[in-house]
Subunit: 797 residues, 2 copies
């Protein structure tokens, strides 16, 4: 696999020359820059690189450079004879068309070799305009973005050139490129440079001008002499020396800044969920940029000729948010569109297209006939608070309780719903909240059986506390798929035992005076609580028992006699059921909704993280009409009194729409079919033929062979599971488990040391003795296999 | 004043033709479109408009149209003789250069006249490329964005044209433009159309091609015949009829969608803070887009020839967030850059440039020597929870309390800090929270004197409950400035009375067993509690009394003897002081920090809303090192256990950096100096000469003459105040005041009915009997004066 790499060395100042149009003078500026660098830094090596070139070699840009700057090292990586756009030229060349990552890898290798020869400069010239396609057809602006090479934009000095220059500039900025300077010819008729100098003043982008090259002359020797004289004049043009000095300084500033950021962060940042007394500056990861699945991370110890930036796989999917790759241009453009069309618009009593369209899309895709309403908030934690406010109100009205009654949550032990105080109160006391002032766990949290793979078998483990009551210690299955075949498991002995146990527990709790206002679950996987895979049969049974219990059960501790449940089959019954799908939903576990793995329709469903594909915060709490109705009244203050200023901010909604559209489209076109068949024997091409309808209920990007292999490492592994893009390995830890454990930190450290060839590493987060890693929805098979190898190696070392 | 207006009529299908480069055939496509519309819709009027044209009239684009489509109505609004970019041509023309809003107003008037003549089409042709400057120098993409006219982009079929087309497309999208179709010539050498068709398939943008026009012929008549024949051929080209049918359908779809959105929203959206039983679909504002200070709002009752969209001033600054105008291209580009460079990157133990730079910028600009740390969260409510967690921990460690001890907030009556449950608990019971399950106000909230202007005088009103204790009913001042001259007021009788009263209160509360963990204030103005202007002397005195009280005072109810306060003068003493500047900070009240109006340095300061200029959610909680130190330990779980997935998301941080940079730059260059001098007699030019150093402590965009005038309307007005961009008027209401009052709704309704000429309205929010309105930081003097007139008229009707 080729991880995309950003180019940065102490020794080598690299710049990329972009054109705002064809025929604006890229090669002339490149030649002048190379000559100026060679003149002003005569002890350094100056090199020119044309990664992709089309047309006859003697007419190519590198040929011009060879003619007028013969001492400059001069290379071309991909040369195509036909004089047209590289994607067309590559197609008709008869050669294999290089992939984008192959092009990037070639450039990286070339630059690394330049860095190895000592201090120097490298100017990389692009082909055509900023969006002219590379060999594969990817526009260069996207193709080269991961390199993060500072850009020099050659402006257009001709009629209409202001527009071309600004548009090209924006397309580069949209890819996170730093435009270090704009260079253009001085044209005294159109004076575009005057406008551009003024325009870019506020953005601190300097605009340099040089005189135009002489008119072309038909006579070759005369043309040569005339151009040579022109370059000679340029060599004493103060614009060129200023520009070069500026580039030199900016290069140095960039590295200095990167190298001091961790120390500055140590002094000014208060990190989330971090004991900073135990975090030295050197342990802080300095992230220059991120593209696709990879961060570009500073290697502070790099010597002058070693790469300062290294790709690190984003193994926590940036706290579980990332789904469509970092720096995804489609998401960026969606955000830009909404920002340009609206900025933010206040949402109370108003409606705008992205908010309405997103609500419609979510309700439609959930395929849950109960859900009819969408409430927007800012993140999973606030969305869970909203869900709680919704459920508690509905329950207390039905059961005749007052707002002051102590009404709690029925949940599972180890649940976690967020860090705001109300969300914390939905979980039982634990390391995340027991030291937090004002925390009061409100409710009761049941023990439950869990699922893991060990020694090639899938086990449902019943916790000790329940074994007597359930009359067994668990069950064993051949595959995870079997565990999720709930229709087959319903009616089994263990199902009946679950039913009886849950009902007894409820009766016991209510008889002790407990009042419950909601059943609140993370379906299938409890995330922050330690990546616990719950037995889906237990979760489904819990919902069914709660729903089929009479209202009298839950109101037993009150005097008031509640009305019977409504007649509609979308009304809630027993308790409002909240599913917190913040982590597990939206394809994280392989399906749009994790609830569908249980075959359950919750009354309230909370969605965030992947909702916006890893770009900006947004949460949607979906609810049924029967929950919504509990807030309807003639009194304004009976409304759901919650609402953030940026509620339903158009940027977030538009990004979410694009993110859902893209993931749904990937699903429909079978982009994950390589993972649907877990048989590694089949050829990838065959595996890709499958269509969305054939997607299995349970599938994972992580291969079953790999899971099987790790499950046999019993000396170090207590068990593991893989589902959708998530892999979680529980490690044996002599010192005990839990959040405070450091057992998984070893494995994490080994992944941080990277691949065999040192070309990439993996950045992960751990939860005590649980090591987890997750891919994005865009991660390709080669990357997943590479990670699997790395993990196996780390576990067997 | 000219409010920017979007163009939309039932009768008139309007499209704007943009060029992805010069010389790509805009005029030919415009001509072909006009002819096709005339052919396929023969009973409708087709018109062509060139708003700005340069060059000799007989060579102009409109002349081509007149020649080959003589029956098409054909107008030019601004014609300049010199054949160059409009901004240069306008400058040398000797004519007054029209402002952007004048250009938009002319186009709007012209289109309105077209709409009045019956069903028809209007094609508006831009000049040059998408960013070619208009007469004032503003790039057309920005200039025309508020019109929201669906765009037709003429692609570039020449070498390099793929790049030019994609870049132009992105620049239009970045302005929230809907590109309905791309049209280009079929060029069989470069085949750009094939690439573009493939590229735009996923975005649902159709790409249409037509054959190239014939070669130019020197002979005028032959050229004419050749072009006429070309247009004749085009008239039966299915591409043209398909395109036109598609445009017709998209026009209809757009209006249909807009007209059904409010009903759909009624059925699918759960609105924040809204009693939906009292909200009919017709009361929902459908917002098509927003630019500058104005929403573009659907007028559902518009007849066929009336405008469907009307500008409405965003008088709540979109729930107090908006500062730099809707659809601000600079903020959009900042967001795009960060999205392209990073997407989101997980923040725990890592650092990226926008987060660090923003932390540094905030700490520097606050000029509060106590603040050294920045903690990021998602919104003001979560940021206030973070502040509370910080303060409670610091206080309970110093005072030796346990996490289970009941430790509360000391605040002011009417405070409000957000809707998450923890933030709600920081406020006393009231209409926002008393019906909310799980709400338990934790602390005590003091009565305090307030400030208002009535009958031309500024009064400090002491609430009845305090009058006996303070020994007076208040004070009167000549100006608001006098009220804020705290150094002069300190030492006065009322100051001494404040001191004594506060100390007595504290002693009384602690003696009753109250434990306090923080003094938490919204400095100067209590926002959601009803736009209450607090007497700044009282707030300052409260902080000073709390800080100068011995630790023994606050720990009196415990056994534990706390250590003395630390030696550093940046340590907190008495209680950690939290300032919630979410609403009042970042120039909302005229100054970077509202704390500076009090001359107080809080230990913790919370910032959101304007932080991101009205684009995406982000909050920063700033804290002192002495607060931070309370969480340092060798135990991981002693850390501040809070952190959202999107903590310090790069998009938000980058937008905040740009927003702060822009506001600081406006302040420094005296952009608000017209408001600094409240004397309306001076000429605007003179008033603008002032520099930032001369900015008065207290100033307002709302003129003192206007405030004075309203303050004399005693029959309807109980009092008002204006500070920074905010104006708040307390209205007399026989039925009582408070959140449930509908007193201000009348005034609100009158503003909604709009200006005398019907060209704009104002959209505002009310808080019970308090009517408030705020401008953005970009609102110009003419708009403020227009609003003042509207308010005076509404109050006197």
């Amino acid at each position: 696999m080729n991880a995309p790499a950003a180019l940065l060395w102490r020794h080598l100042r690299v710049f990329q020359v972009w054109g705002s149009n064809t025929d604006v003078g890229k090669t002339i500026f490149s030649t002048a820059l190379c000559k100026a660098a060679a003149k002003h830094h005569s002890h350094e090596k100056v090199a020119f690189l044309k990664p992709v070139s089309t047309g006859a070699p003697h007419e190519a840009d590198s040929s011009h450079m060879r003619t007028y700057a013969p001492k400059i090292a001069n290379d071309t990586l991909f040369q195509y004879e036909v004089a047209c756009s590289p994607h067309s030229a590559a197609k008709v060349s008869g050669q294999a068309v290089p992939t984008d990552s192959a092009v990037l890898a070639e450039i990286r290798s070339h630059a690394a070799r330049r860095a190895a020869v000592g201090p120097g400069w490298l100017f990389i010239e692009t082909a055509g305009g900023v969006h002219s396609p590379g060999p594969s057809g990817t526009p260069q602006a996207d193709l080269y973005a991961p390199m993060r090479v500072p850009a020099l934009l050659v402006g257009d000095s001709k009629l209409g050139g202001i527009s071309q220059t600004l548009a090209a500039y924006e397309s580069l900025k949209l890819r996170g490129q730093d435009v270090e300077a704009i260079m253009l010819f001085q044209d005294d008729q159109y004076e575009n440079h005057l406008y551009l100098q003024d325009y870019f003043k506020a953005s601190d982008v300097p605009v340099y001008t040089i005189s135009k090259p002489p008119q072309r002359i038909a006579n070759d020797q005369a043309e040569h002499d005339s151009m040579a004289a022109y370059y000679e004049r340029l060599s004493s043009d103060p614009s060129m020396s200023d520009l070069l000095a500026n580039l030199d300084k900016r290069s140095e500033d960039r590295i200095n800044r990167l190298e001091t950021m961790n120390q500055k962060a140590t002094n000014t940042i208060w990190y989330p969920f971090t004991q900073q007394k135990l975090l030295s500056a050197s342990q802080i990861t300095t992230i220059d940029s991120a593209h696709g699945d990879f961060f570009q991370v500073l290697s502070p110890a790099a010597t002058s000729d070693q790469a300062l930036l290294q790709p690190a796989f984003d193994g926590s999917a940036s706290w579980w948010t990332q789904g469509l790759g970092h720096g995804n241009s489609k998401l960026t453009l969606a955000a830009s569109y909404a920002a340009g069309r609206y900025g933010h618009v206040m949402f109370a009593s108003s409606v705008h297209e992205p908010a309405l369209a997103l609500a419609e899309t979510l309700l439609e895709n959930m395929r849950n006939p109960r859900l009819t309403r969408v409430f927007y908030s800012d993140n999973g934690s606030t969305g869970c608070e909203v869900a709680t406010k919704m459920a508690l109100r509905a329950a207390r009205l039905r059961y005749g309780w007052s707002a002051k009654d102590k009404v709690g949550i029925l949940g599972l032990r180890g649940s976690y719903h967020g860090d705001t105080m109300g969300a914390m109160d939905c979980s039982e006391p634990g390391v995340f909240n027991e030291k937090v002032e004002w925390y009061t766990g409100k409710g009761h949290w049941l023990d439950f059986p869990t699922v893991r793979c060990l020694e090639g078998r899938w086990q449902v483990d019943v916790p000790e506390a329940l074994q007597a009551d359930l009359g067994c210690g668990g069950e064993t299955f051949e595959s995870l798929d079997e565990v999720f075949r709930l229709d087959e498991r319903i009616g089994s002995a263990i199902h009946k035992a679950y039913e009886d146990h849950i009902l007894r527990e409820l009766q016991r709790l209510v008889s002790r005076g407990h009042k419950f206002g909601a059943l609140m679950l993370e379906p299938v996987v409890l995330g922050a609580g330690g990546m616990i895979l719950a037995d889906p049969l237990f979760q489904r049974t819990l919902v069914e028992v709660v729903r089929s219990s009479s209202s009298q059960l839950f109101s037993a501790s009150t005097q008031h006699s509640p009305p019977d449940d409504g007649p509609s089959d979308t009304d809630w019954s027993g308790l409002p059921v909240i599913f917190d799908e913040v982590f597990v939903g939206l394809y994280r576990l392989g399906r749009f909704s994790a609830a569908s793995l249980l075959g359950v329709h919750p009354d309230i469903s909370v969605h965030a993280k992947l909702l916006t594909g890893g770009l900006v915060p947004l949460c949607a709490t979906l609810a049924s009409e029967s929950i919504f109705a509990a807030f309807g009244s003639d009194d304004k203050s009976d409304a759901l009194l919650h609402g953030h200023s940026y509620t339903a901010h158009p940027v977030g909604c538009q990004v979410a729409l694009e993110s859902l559209r893209e993931m749904n489209s990937m699903h429909a076109s079978g982009d994950w079919s390589w993972a649907w068949s877990q048989s590694q024997q089949q050829e990838p091409a065959q595996r890709r033929l499958r269509v969305a309808e054939e997607a299995p209920l349970v599938w994972s990007l992580w291969s079953s062979d790999f899971v099987d292999q790790v499950s046999h490492m019993a000396a170090r592994v207590e068990g593991l599971w893989a589902l959708g893009s998530v892999l979680a390995i529980t490690l044996r830890d002599g010192a005990g488990s839990g959040y405070k454990s450091t057992a998984a930190a070893d494995l994490q450290a080994r992944l941080r040391s990277g691949s065999d060839d040192g070309s990439w590493t993996a950045h992960t987060r751990v939860l005590g003795n649980v090591f987890y890693i997750m891919a994005s929805q865009k991660t390709n098979e080669a990357t997943v296999r590479g990670l699997e190898k790395l993990i196996v190696k780390a576990l067997t070392e």
